[in-house]
């Protein structure tokens, strides 16, 4: 028991389940070690979706079926088998298991949540946001770069763009009508502050910094920034 326990099993949390990495030790030992591990922490594994990285192990249909049954008896669903071996991959695919898991993509659609930092929290992004990027943040957002068409920023606070704003920005997304949106070049696809929505603003021949806010008449309006 102790011997099998010492086999290296790495467990990592993923967005859509757990990733367990095994190595190239004999399969029977690996399987035993995994089952031991699961049985030692039943509450942790109960109901989990499991992806198994089996390195270059060659697994046959029987091996995988046995594994899947053993796991499902313990309330775990086997969802993917990752392998360097094409045979194993084929077998897994044959059994309807995934053989690939998506890596988390740093640039794309992400939600950030910061708790208990008060309303003066800001997120600073030192890059250009390309089409397909979505930033959601419960505070202010500052971008040092452009916001391209097809990119979106949804912020509870203000949004400041030190660059060109050509995508979509929603400031005061939780209803704060005092929120503002500033950009060096304000040519967005759409602006929203609280519930107010403005359409496309014409790109300017010679862009000047602008600030958009809700005016006294309750309309979303942009004006040139003037010092003082």
């Amino acid at each position: 028991m102790n011997e099998t326990n010492s086999l290296p099993i790495q467990i990592k949390g993923l967005r859509d389940g757990l990733l367990v990495s095994l190595d190239d030790a004999p399969w029977a030992d690996q399987l035993a070690a995994l089952i031991t591990q699961v049985d030692s922490q039943p509450s942790f594994f109960q109901g989990a979706r499991l992806a198994l990285d089996v390195a270059s192990q060659v697994l046959r249909v029987n091996d995988i079926v046995q594994l899947r049954d053993a796991l499902s008896e313990r309330g775990i669903s086997l969802w993917a088998i990752l392998s360097e071996s094409p045979t194993t991959e084929n077998t897994a695919q044959l059994l309807g298991l995934a053989t690939r898991i998506s890596k988390p993509r740093p640039e794309e659609s992400r939600q950030f949540s910061v708790e208990n930092l008060g309303e003066e929290t800001a997120m600073f992004l030192n890059r250009t946001l390309r089409s397909g990027t979505r930033i959601e943040f419960a505070g202010h957002v500052v971008v040092m770069g452009d916001v391209n068409p097809g990119a979106e920023i949804i912020a509870d606070g203000n949004v400041i763009i030190w660059g060109r704003l050509r995508g979509l920005v929603h400031a005061g997304a939780k209803g704060n009508r005092a929120a503002v949106i500033c950009a060096l070049d304000l040519s967005p696809t759409q602006l929203r502050i609280a519930e107010e929505v403005s359409g496309t603003l014409k790109p300017q021949e010679h862009p000047r910094p602008e600030i958009a806010r809700i005016n006294e008449d309750g309309k979303l309006q942009a004006e040139f920034w003037a010092s003082g």
Binding site: E89, E107, R130, S131, N148, G150, R166
Partner: protein, 265 residues
Amino acid sequence: MPAKVITITSGKGGVGKTTAVANLAVALAADGSKVVCIDGDIGLRNLDVILGLENRIVYDIVDVIEGRCRLKQAMIRDKKLPELYLIPAAQTRDKNAVSPSDMNRLIKELRPDFDFVLIDSPAGIERGFRNAIAAADRVIVVTNPEVSAVRDADRVIGILEAEEKGPAALIINRLNPTLVKNHDMLSPDDVLDLLAVELIGIVPEDENVIIGSNRGAPVAFDLKSRAGQAFRNIAKRLKGEKVPFMDLEAQDGLWQRLQRLTGRK
């Protein structure tokens, strides 16, 4: 030296990826490089038609991956250029027949024997695209000077950055200098302003491209065609040569030249 693996992609469909692959392959091979191009658009294969090789296909990429033939058997040699090969896509399967690791294995086998491996990516950002970029050393994004194509190119460049595929290079395809001059089309500057990547070529709109594609003789063979010249220049840039960008104004018709002569703008 092991081959350089270049994937040509775009996000949006119909901007000229396959045409670009065919022409770059022809231009590189005509310039003495050993080239193999791979059609990554499984289920919707086109590259064989544009290269005029569709009637020679016996085995395809899925046959190789699933072990029904050896890699060499699926490689079709070009009619005119003995150093140019095509690995065709399967027409009767879909993108799921291939995985990124399959592509990696395949390319690893090709690398020692060639100077360039060109991969034609399908449109979109799903499985087929992921397969196509899996083994790439370099990615070329093709776009048209149109708002929708540029936005999709931007998305793709964002994904490439996230996947750490290195900086993408850009081809602006089907530029019409007259429309640009009249402010009816995005200019190369407008496109670069948004995408902020390295420009590797501008291909002017040229009806010879369509004629060549339909005949199975890519326009890069045509020494008189402006688009062909543009593709040959890009091929040279891929080899590391410094080639100045073409003067696109020079392709004006007789009327424009007359106008210029008479001093009217």
